[in-house]
């Protein structure tokens, strides 16, 4: 065990830091650009210098770096203020799925533009009738020659409105039990018949969408895995999802700590208050536990292990931590904590913003409850929940009023 850098790691860190200091976009450069444009500008700059998706093989647009180099890069990049990424789904979930299931030719064609940020991908999994119970999804695909014709509706699709491609799970056979009748595709979001409608969140923003499919034609060579093997392919995506999304939500211990240094309670800095210290200490311990857990997961990756279900911890702990820290920060601000106007509120409204976004973190990518089920069943080996839909053809499974 050695948390220090080897000489090679130290020089890699040095190189990364030097490049970052010289190349992180300045405020002026980003002015006037929207979130997606900012993210694309930063991603392309990294790509051109060989700093994008560094663990990917070079032929797919990466750098062929080691897991430890990835850890170092993440540490260094996160110490700078960089534009928020819109590529988590594409690079963190679609790409590993493509690497595991696509043809060599497809990988060489689709992965480099993912690394460069030229293409944004989204995830067309959830449906009105299939969220936690993803395998209950109903969007139908029927074979027609060399193509599939898709009809149905997806929901909660983050970033669909600015995405170029998507990963998609559909039902190809309703007459077999639900997990067996699914098939996995990737699809061009500009295909005729795809319609995207924004959904407004409690925060007032619209980051996710409804996506309607009307006779959308997808070539059979866009299928990943065999017909009926969609669930197995989806598991590859979901395992990586847990690694990719974490639960940070843009708020960390440091920001709440600094707030407590600035504000006062009973005429003293809030940070001197025992109850404040206790809460902050707990969040620090959670955050550092997650950080080192992440490093250990990277160690496992570097030994060739695939990310296991234990990575559900990060997203589960991180989401509630964000919610609780945001709530606590607002309490520290007292009455002025309700002011969310970025111009008027202290810290540009980040705590209020995080507070309104946090409920979504606890739902997206598998709810808290589903994460606990996964940990209990897949890590601890406890029995699955009793299921009334087991072994029954999907078409005969009971549903709520529809």
């Amino acid at each position: 065990m050695d948390f220090g850098d080897t000489p090679e790691e130290a020089s890699f860190r040095q190189e990364a830091r030097a490049w970052l200091s010289a190349n992180v976009p300045s405020k002026e450069e980003l002015e006037g650009l929207d979130e997606v444009q900012r993210a694309k500008l930063w991603q392309m700059r990294k790509y051109e210098a060989g700093w994008a998706c560094i663990r990917w093989p070079r032929e797919y647009g990466g750098r062929g770096a080691s897991a430890m180099e990835q850890v170092i890069w993440n540490q260094e990049e996160s110490s700078f203020r960089t534009p928020a990424s819109v590529f988590a789904i594409g690079q963190g979930m679609a790409a590993p799925t493509m690497m595991a299931w696509a043809t060599e030719e497809q990988k060489r064609r689709y992965l480099p533009p993912l690394a460069s940020g030229e293409h944004v991908w989204c995830q067309l999994f959830s449906e009105p009738a299939g969220g936690s119970d993803l395998a209950a999804l109903r969007t139908r695909a029927e074979k027609d020659g060399d193509e599939w014709v898709v009809n149905g509706q997806k929901i909660w699709t983050s970033g669909a409105h600015f995405s170029d491609y998507a990963i998609l799970v559909v039902r190809t056979d309703p007459e077999v039990p639900k997990h067996k009748g699914l098939t996995y595709f990737f699809v061009d979001m500009k295909s005729p018949g795809i319609e995207t409608k924004p959904i407004r969140q409690i925060s007032g923003e619209s980051n996710f969408n409804e996506v309607y499919f009307t006779d959308v034609r997808i070539p059979d060579d866009h299928r990943l895995g065999a017909v009926g093997q969609g669930w197995q392919v989806a598991i590859t995506t979901l395992m990586n999802e847990r690694l990719a999304i974490g639960g940070g939500g843009g708020l960390g211990f440091r920001q709440v700590f600094e707030l407590a240094q600035r504000l006062s309670i009973d005429g003293r800095p809030a940070i001197k208050d025992r109850s404040v210290r206790a809460r902050l200490a707990d969040w620090y311990a959670q955050e550092s536990g997650l950080r080192f857990q992440g490093y250990r997961a990277m160690s496992a990756l570097s030994r060739g292990e695939i990310p296991g279900p234990e990575n559900s911890i990060g997203k589960y702990v991180g989401a509630s931590k964000t919610q609780d820290m945001a709530s606590f920060a607002i309490d520290l601000l007292e009455m002025s904590g309700v002011v969310s106007d970025p111009e008027l509120s202290s810290h540009s409204g980040i705590f209020q913003y995080a507070f309104m976004g946090a409920p979504g973190l606890r739902i997206a990518g598998g709810t808290d409850e589903i994460m606990l089920n996964i940990l209990a069943e897949r890590v601890l080996g406890m029995p699955q929940d009793v299921r009334v839909d087991k072994g029954i053809p999907f078409s005969q499974v009971p549903t709520g009023a529809s």
Partner: protein
């Protein structure tokens, strides 16, 4: 960077687990709980024979000169089996105090015996209810004469010497001294505690002989340093115990049926155990960092130690109480072994400073700029 134990350390873990499965079955802690003995002397002798008491003592003082990573591995295994031995007092506290502050003569006098398990040492800080601080110390040590009362002292009834924290009018308000416990003027009385598998005593010093350990007026700072180091090791014990409690809960839940199926199939039980796993995993990850900081004497040791300690206290307490809950009425019986973790978890959550104390130290370390 490398975030895992080495193959040799994993081998040591296997050996330790095998040895303890044999020499420290659940009945061992129960024998001490129900019997008259203060500790399992046979087991402690076996532990010394394995060289564990000698782990971090330099070879020139009769030790093995291993790294603290090995000691962390041993601590986790001892915690897992709730070992009824004075290992922590002797190794994490007394040995550490001598290594940090002992003169060459003091080290030569005690370290070889500690290494061989021929002597037991302990650390005596607490005197009365509430958080200890220099201004609340009443024990004094003047010109080699120690007077005052320490209560409770872990293994105080069986130890050969104690490192005693005494008040001091200069410096940081405290000095350490080294007191043989067979000297005239020392009276020891065993006290009943929450965890009888680890004996505790009241020690009255009445003009007893003692010699200074470390510089006068630097005792409080030394105490902090000793406790930072011990905190990492205790945290590993706590993580070992927490994981054992989780395993115990799981095993029971898989075999116990209610409403026609194993209770392990109920979500309330599944989620309870999954939450144990979450807390244990976070604590363990923090312990890795603590182990590294301890083994390299890193400048961020105070932060790493406090972080490991806070999360380990929380994990073990949670696992120990929810383990009983998972067992239903059985868990509340004297005959069942759930009580061992419940008792040990509470002892370890206050023995070198409570959760609140360590939360405070964690934030102090962040304030001092140790966080990266």
């Amino acid at each position: 960077m490398n975030f895992e134990f080495s193959d040799e350390q994993n081998l040591l873990r296997e050996q330790a687990a095998g040895f303890l499965a044999d020499k420290c079955p659940p009945g061992a802690a129960r024998a001490v709980l129900e019997g008259d003995a203060s500790f399992d002397a046979q087991l402690f002798k076996g532990i010394a024979d394995m060289g564990w008491t000698a782990a971090t003592i330099p070879e020139k003082h009769g030790g093995l000169g291993l790294s603290y990573l090995e000691l962390c591995v041993i601590a986790e295994e001892l915690g897992r089996v709730v070992a009824p031995v004075p290992f922590s007092s002797s190794v994490y506290l007394a040995t550490e105090a001598l290594l940090l502050a002992g003169t060459d003569a003091q080290r030569r006098a005690w370290l070889p015996k500690l290494a061989a398990g021929a002597a037991i040492g302990t650390f005596a800080l607490t005197e009365s209810a509430g958080q200890p601080s220099p201004d609340r110390l009443a024990t004094s040590c003047d010109n080699g004469s120690l007077t005052g009362t320490k209560l409770p002292v872990a293994d105080g009834d069986i130890a050969d010497f104690a490192v005693v924290v005494a008040k001091c009018d200069s410096g940081d308000g405290a000095s350490l001294c080294l007191a043989p416990l067979d000297a005239d003027g020392v009276t020891r009385t065993a006290v009943a505690t929450l965890d009888p598998t680890r004996s505790h005593a009241r020690i009255d010093f009445d003009h007893a002989a003692a010699e200074p350990l470390g510089a006068e007026g630097e005792g409080w700072e030394l105490t902090r340093r000793i406790l930072d180091r011990a905190a990492v090791l205790f945290a590993w014990e706590q993580v070992g115990g927490a994981n054992a409690a989780l395993e115990q809960a799981k095993e029971y839940a898989m075999g116990r049926y209610a409403f026609g199926r194993p209770i392990a199939g109920f979500q309330a039980i599944k989620h309870k155990l999954a939450n144990m796993f979450v807390k244990n995993t976070l604590a363990r990850s923090n312990c890795y960092y603590g182990a590294w900081a301890l083994s390299t004497d890193a400048s961020e040791l105070p932060l790493a130690a406090a972080t490991a300690r806070v999360s380990a206290i929380q994990a073990y307490y949670f696992a120990s109480k929810e383990n009983i809950q998972t067992h239903g009425g059985m868990g509340f019986t004297w005959e069942f072994d759930c009580q061992f973790h419940y008792r040990r978890a509470k002892l370890l959550s206050v023995n070198i400073g409570s959760e609140r104390t360590w939360q405070d130290r964690l934030i102090s370390a962040v304030e001092a700029g140790q966080a990266t």
